[in-house]
Amino acid sequence: MYLTKEEEQIQSGEAGETLRKAIEILVALGDIYGADRLIPIKSAQIAGVSYKTIGDAGLEWISDLEGQVKVPATLNPAGMDMEDWERLRISPEFAEKQKRIVQAYKKLGIRCGCTCTPYTLEGFSAGYGDHLAWSESSAISYANSVIGARTNREGGPSALSAALLGKTANYGFHLDENRVPEVSISVECSLRESDYGALGYVAGKIIGNRVPIFRIKDTPEKDDLKALGAAMAASGSVALYHVKGVTPEACRLDFREPEEKIIIERSQLDEVYESRKRAGKEPDLITIGCPHCSAAELKKVAELLGGKTVSKETWIFTSRELKNRYPEYIRSIEESGAKIVCDTCMVVSPATNSYSCVMVNSGKAFAYVPGMCGAESVYGDMEVCIEEATGGKGKKAGGSH
């Protein structure tokens, strides 16, 4: 891999130990994947924040680093709401470690608005063709697919290294040839709302880590695409997808139709919704906001909960920045007894571990809750989740059709 003179100096340790290791990480990954050089990035988004996932090992490594990031950098969700952790019964020991992790990142100049939707943050916009080093799987999918920016699936240390250097190795999704669709997916039924998450859950299992191009009859909103990508990145490891006539690269570039064609039918999506009927128990926790709720989603939750009272534990996840931007939605949600939780999510917080059956409207949460939280997960659209939370209408399929 070609390095500039300045990069070689960093590699030989002239810019200090932290940067020497950072460039060594990028060069090693570049060599493994056949990169020709390092390229500048516009921003970094760093995973490896929850104490539940990185533990003492991660805390030690981050605490030992020195210096300042060279590009805007922000964090993935942590294991708890950083301001109001006691409300979800997080232990003081966990809270102490979690605060130390976030503090260690802050010392490096990283913004600590812990969110899986960094593209909603002020001053953190990404545009078509921008090179990024992001590491949250749903944010990667959104950046690549919905924005048309370019990022690989970075791990925590490589995203942090990229932030410290302002560069990443030029391989994978940074290159045109790896962004071409490899499999075509036709969806025969019409789709609305949580159908996109269910579709992503089904599609991810089939396509693994390949790049799909969807043919969909409807025109999805950005939140629909967010849900689709998040689910595919969880049930599979899809980092980039296209939707014909919708996503920017599918509109601008003339992709050849892939040879492999898959058809997804209504009955496959129904199976996801039927998790509600299959569950051996009633949900004891309702969660919305995986990935973190957008302004439009907060508005919808607020409308659905308006004037009602929840009878089951209900958590709505969003970023702190959006919480502060929309106090009127927050007020009407919290008046119902549902809790707005920031900086974290149902998957990476230990708070979820004390429940046995979690109802979600997210294909990503549906995939991860069983393994990461030891709880059963059941799927329904937002309206059905709110019905369940407010003492709804008993056992039904949870579908929206």
Binding site: K21, E24, I25, A28, L29, D31, I32, A47, G48, T53, I54, G55, D56, A57, G58, E60, W61, G155, G156, P157, S158
Partner: protein, 144 residues
């Protein structure tokens, strides 16, 4: 014996020598290895019950969670890490873990390490220059 030198690819720099411990199974550092002691705790693993501490650890590649990189760092801080690593072909979790932990790592040797290395051999791993050298072979009298 005359030391046998084999070229490979630099993944993590540095130079160390030690006793070979071979594993034909991939290793997930998260969950498979006790970060306090370096003992492999994954049942049914080829190295189950053995300690990787101070060894030149030979395994095909890593597997499992990306948190494995941090566990390698923790092993190093607890003085329970291998002194060097040889892989068939490294993947990012182990590559990153070795770099942040300053464990020399070479992969893609010109010959398979499983063909010419045995447990107990003394090997030098030069991660900076990308080669390994067999210094002392266990029970192989025909060489040298």
């Amino acid at each position: 014996m005359v030391p046998i030198k084999l070229k490979g690819r630099t993944i993590s720099r540095g130079c160390a020598e030690g006793e070979v411990l071979l594993s034909r199974d991939p290793i997930s550092f998260l969950g498979s290895v006790d970060p306090e002691t370096g003992i492999v705790v994954e049942e049914k693993h080829a190295l189950a019950g053995k300690s990787i501490k101070g060894k030149v650890l030979v395994f095909p590649h890593g597997k499992g969670s990306t948190v494995g990189s941090y566990v390698m760092y923790q092993l190093k801080k607890n003085e329970a890490a291998p002194v060097a690593i040889i892989n068939l072909e490294t993947e990012p979790i182990v590559a990153v873990g070795a770099i942040i932990s300053e464990i020399p790592l070479v992969d893609m040797l010109e010959k398979s390490p499983y063909e010419f290395l045995k447990d107990g051999d003394i090997v030098l791993v030069n991660g900076s220059e990308g080669y390994i050298e067999l210094l002392k072979s266990e029970g192989c009298k025909t060489e040298g």
